[in-house]
Symmetry: C2
Subunit: 221 residues, 2 copies
């Protein structure tokens, strides 16, 4: 849904050794983009990158090195470490588009539920910390299982892109569009990010009930 | 997705004279269900019912009469009047399945946004007030424009049904299933209703950006 040429970009994935980070890295690498996986432990990131070597150009680094290397930086860390990590990287991330993909969820025996976030959402927390960056929210509702599965050729889902900067949301939509089956769609301003993050709890309930890897499509668009 | 026979039910629609209420009434009446539109002003409800007479069995009543008449009672009132109305109808609604369809949203020049709700969501507020009823949340994300348009034969959307009572959520899923194109789907427990209500703000943003009447489909189910 956008004409941005994003294939020449380098994508950094902070927290890139978890399932969601690895899965997104796989898809962007397969689309020809250069990917730098970041982790607290650079050697773990290197191992994860090696596992993706046959897919495309993926290398591992520390989170700080990855943040510095990326043209666009995806944040895919656990919610627990979100605030601390971003506070440590304000310099590396200055001037860049930062795409927050984090879902603040709690889990108990009844399943997943949304955690309250003082700033309203993980994305708004990122925006409050990274005042020198342009923060966008996206890729919240995409199944890590599907992203990571090499036999899944198309990830048929819409990616709601939240943000207050049109150029940045357009670019992130274009980034989603490079993945076969995926469609980037503007989903509203940062103040409406919370419910998109939290909706992942509902998708987890749906997955449990229907034995699925649920995602979201928006109709009539 | 359910085998409940719901076509013999009487559906009450509280706040049935607004676009969403009229639209849902139209679809259930068209599917052969008996519908009672409720309004603060019974004569306005009667007028709205008359306008739907050629669609099916629809009659108007006061909200209290409608609540008493319905086997299943949909709450489609503006958020402003939600708490007060439900407090006034606890007796009429006792023992019934009450389906809350209300989205607590605010609007300003930047569009729609989710309002905070002390109980967590409109649906949870209803459950806190209607302790003698079984409260379910559903039909939050369905376009009133499409529901009301007599030229729209299929309303192609999923209806996420939220609730803690399996029998009740199954029945409300079956209710959604009677509308051509619509699919009722379990969407999680009451504690995860907020984000489904709030997601309507994102759909309003999407409608504005893409000139659409957006709805939601869940993939892989």
């Amino acid at each position: 849904m956008s004409d941005h040429d994003v294939t020449s970009l380098t994508i950094a994935v902070l927290g890139g050794t978890g399932p969601q980070g690895r899965g997104l890295a796989r898809r962007f690498a397969a689309a020809g983009l250069e990917v730098v996986l970041g982790s607290r432990d650079a050697s773990r990131a290197a191992d994860a990158a090696t596992a993706l070597a046959e897919v495309g150009r993926v290398r591992g680094a520390s989170n700080a090195e990855a943040a510095a290397a990326g043209d666009v930086v995806l944040v895919v860390v656990p919610w627990d470490g979100h605030e601390e990590l971003l506070r440590s990287l304000t310099e590396e991330l200055a001037g860049k588009i930062v795409v927050d993909c984090v879902n603040p969820l709690g889990f108990d025996k009844q399943g997943a539920y949304a955690l309250p976030v003082e700033e309203g959402s993980a994305t708004q927390q990122a925006a409050a910390i990274l005042t020198g960056s342009t923060v966008v929210g996206a890729f919240h509702n995409v199944s890590a299982v599907l992203l990571e599965d090499p036999t899944v050729e198309r990830v048929d889902t819409d990616v709601l892109v939240l943000g207050d900067d049109r150029e940045a949301t357009d670019l992130v939509q274009a980034l989603a569009d490079v993945v076969p089956g995926m469609r980037g769609m503007y989903g509203g301003r940062l103040r409406n990010a919370h419910q998109v993050e939290a909706l992942t709890a509902n998708l987890i309930s749906i997955n449990r009930r229907y034995k699925a890897h649920a995602g979201v499509r928006v109709t009539d668009v």
